[in-house]
Symmetry: C2
Subunit: 159 residues, 2 copies
């Protein structure tokens, strides 16, 4: 299989400059599309969707630190060692991140979003509308450590 | 921003060889990790999760056909023209796809999954566990055309 060359479609402009793990809930940021590739027609109709799925590049992760095996999530020894594909660690092959956020506004090439867990300057690789039917089908099950880990992830910092 | 080089981490092995839009519900496929990059430790603990999020490359889309503006989803003129980032069309910048599927089994470097909307030979770019808390927060809203479009997407072909 060939390598795949990916060209960022936009960039994050936001208040947070350090990659920290929690309290993304109330964070407001902008995604600015690359005007050399896109016009406002790329975003027509997007505002009809309440949520987006955003793919982005974890550009601040040192490629030499990428993990491929098993380790404790967040280094917490009270949680079990799990493989790189069983956790959402940033130091992962290809450094690709994916998360959902709320779309607040579209103005020209700029999107205003809430709860996007990406820092200022993050390259955006794709934006997709979130469709209800693309959610997980059937009952969702996850281990206890994952539930504990997420406790404050989307909490609002201001309570 | 620099281009990003992405190396496939695995490949889809499945019964479907043609990209068709609907009836992915009952489809069973395998994801085989690349043994030159990973050992079974990469998947430790994954089976505790019922669902995965899978990023893959739409390698059969001709790059010259990629769209950047507004058009009717699936070419259906009864649905409004919407921008490339307001639909999930395959002919999109970077040809990156993302979907959720059910994890049935892990055997060594092979995952057996249900409902992955990717054809045989598709390069896999990342595998993440689906965490409930990473789902959309707050009420989800989408336009009527999207609901209509998804009607048979995850239906079971056999009824």
């Amino acid at each position: 299989m060939d390598d795949v060359m990916v060209r960022p479609v936009g960039i994050v402009r936001g208040p947070r400059t350090e990659p920290v793990d929690d309290f993304w809930g109330g964070e407001i940021a902008a995604i600015e599309l690359d005007s050399s590739q896109f016009g406002p027609d790329a975003l027509v109709g997007l505002v009809e969707f309440s949520h987006l799925e955003v793919l982005f590049h974890l550009h601040q992760v040192d490629p030499t630190q990428i993990q491929t095996g098993a380790d404790h999530p967040r280094g917490r020894i009270e949680w079990p060692k799990v493989g790189i594909f069983a956790r959402r660690s940033k130091a992962r092959p290809n450094r690709l991140a994916l998360s959902r956020c709320r779309l607040l506004r579209v103005d020209g090439l700029a999107l205003t979003v809430e709860g996007l867990d990406a820092i200022d300057g993050t390259p955006i690789l794709d934006i997709k509308p979130y469709l209800i039917e693309f959610g997980p089908r059937g009952e969702v099950r996850q281990p206890q450590w994952a539930t504990e880990m997420m406790r404050y992830y989307y909490a609002d910092r201001d309570g």
